[in-house]
């Protein structure tokens, strides 16, 4: 079957498919965004997966969890099981490792990934995941969306796709993470209610993230390395480079200097 399967993506280059198949991808969060990513990765031909999510499917996910059926939600099937099932239905592989837990509770497999897709819910979680990926020299592709509504005004839908590349600007450098935002988020800890989430922006952001990963591995666009921080405006359906990029200073990232990699080293005092 494999001779025809990828014939339509031969533009990725002579070694492109092999490069995709060699890579180990980690996906943290198998919800609305991660579900799309897993599915697309399988279609594109990735073979090696490390999947993290502690939750099971439930009815509130069904409006957006593309890897789940009604029966799955009723049964509360683990999202990582659903993801594995979807991968294997599309692409036979022996190398789908699932971790029905927080990545923080079993981090070693994640450190072995070549690329990590971050599909987590909070700024604080992004900070943790980015710190780990920087420490172990792993490119992190982060996606997320949100919907805000002030009073009677129309809801505003936004989102982002960020490539945090070791050696390049981090999410703090890009202004996406900031102490003020983390502080406000910490204040709201425990506030009741789920955040608004819908399927179509997750699809846009996830597809873009997979495209970034494929380009990283195959270099099919033959483009120069660049900082990727895309801002999604759901109200008008655009995904554009964030204006912040115009003001990005060409200095090394001060938050993750090159020598601060590997298992942490504490200085004895």
């Amino acid at each position: 079957m494999t001779s025809e399967r990828f014939s339509r993506q031969s533009f990725l280059g002579a070694d492109g498919q092999a490069a995709i198949e060699r890579a180990i991808v980690g996906i943290v969060g198998l919800g609305g965004g991660g579900g799309h990513i897993v599915q697309q990765c399988a279609h594109v031909g990735f073979l090696n997966y490390r999947l993290y999510d502690a939750d099971g499917a439930d009815e509130s996910n069904l409006n957006r969890l593309v890897i789940s059926t009604e029966a799955d939600a009723e049964a509360g099937i683990l999202k990582v099981e659903l993801a594995r099932r979807r991968i294997l239905a599309i692409r036979s592989t022996d190398n789908v490792e699932i971790f029905p837990c927080r990545w923080q509770d079993n981090p070693e497999p994640l450190r072995g990934c070549d690329i990590v897709f971050g599909c987590v819910d909070s700024f604080a979680e992004r900070r943790e995941l980015e710190a780990c990926c920087r420490r172990y020299l792993i490119p992190l592709i982060d996606i997320g969306m949100d919907i805000h509504q002030a009073g009677d005004e129309a809801p505003v839908m936004g989102g982002q796709v960020i490539l945090s590349m070791p050696g390049g600007p981090c999410m703090f450098c890009l202004g996406f993470l900031a102490e003020a935002k983390l502080g406000r988020e910490a204040q709201k800890y425990g506030a009741a209610g789920g955040r608004p989430q819908v399927v179509w922006p997750n699809g846009v952001l996830a597809s873009t993230a997979v495209g970034i990963a494929v380009n990283l591995l195959t270099n099919w666009t033959r483009s120069k390395p660049q900082t990727i921080y895309l801002s999604y405006r759901g109200n008008d359906g655009t995904l554009v480079p964030h204006p912040r990029l115009e003001h990005l200073r060409d200095v090394p990232c001060p938050h993750y200097p090159p020598h601060q990699v590997g298992d942490p080293i504490f200085k004895k005092l």
């Binding site: 060699r22 180990i24 072995g112 172990y136 020299l137 070791p166 990283l216 080293i265």
Partner: protein, 170 residues
């Protein structure tokens, strides 16, 4: 056990650019990469390169039998860097052809002799050897406390493009 090696593309290209320079008499150049260890106590240790030291032209010994022969001062300097950086040292050189690089007979005889010196000043670090070809890379890694190397079976150049070199585990 599966040993992974990673370095940024920026560092990789810095190394390639240096090793590609012509030397007045040596047919190959040598440098030293330095690395931290990650996942140290797991079945998938990670060697994560942080920096590179090139060798000045006058650190080479004119030996027609060898692609490159370096003097004892070069080795002492590398050992000092292990102490200063608190990182492992990897001898790196390049063979000027395509495909998977293979250590020559002389490489296999001579280069492992460096490792005990590095281990003497940095017992808790991984040390080793890196060999580049025009389009490939291989690494032999002495994990802390080991007298025998493990071949890295997954080497990633981290950047754009992201390049993964994989070896079949035997």
């Amino acid at each position: 056990m599966s040993v992974h090696v990673r370095l940024t593309r920026q560092l990789y290209e810095q190394v390639r650019a240096d090793l590609s320079r012509l030397h007045p008499f040596a047919s190959e150049r040598v440098g030293f990469l330095f690395a931290q260890l990650g996942n140290a106590n797991s079945v998938t240790p990670l060697v994560l390169f942080t920096g590179y030291s090139l060798l000045a032209d006058d650190r080479y010994i004119n030996d027609p039998q060898a692609g490159a022969r370096i003097d004892s001062q070069a080795i002492r300097s590398a050992m000092q860097e292990v102490l200063n950086r608190k990182e492992g040292a990897f001898h790196v050189h390049m063979h000027d052809w395509h495909g998977k690089p293979r250590f020559s007979r002389m490489d296999r005889t001579e280069l492992p002799r460096l490792i005990p010196s590095f281990q003497a000043v940095g017992l808790s670090f991984a040390h080793g050897l890196l060999l580049l070809s025009k389009d490939d890379i291989t690494a032999a890694v002495w994990l802390p406390g080991n007298t025998q190397p493990a071949e890295a079976d997954h080497i990633t150049i981290v950047g754009h493009p992201l390049q993964v070199f994989e070896r079949q585990r035997t």
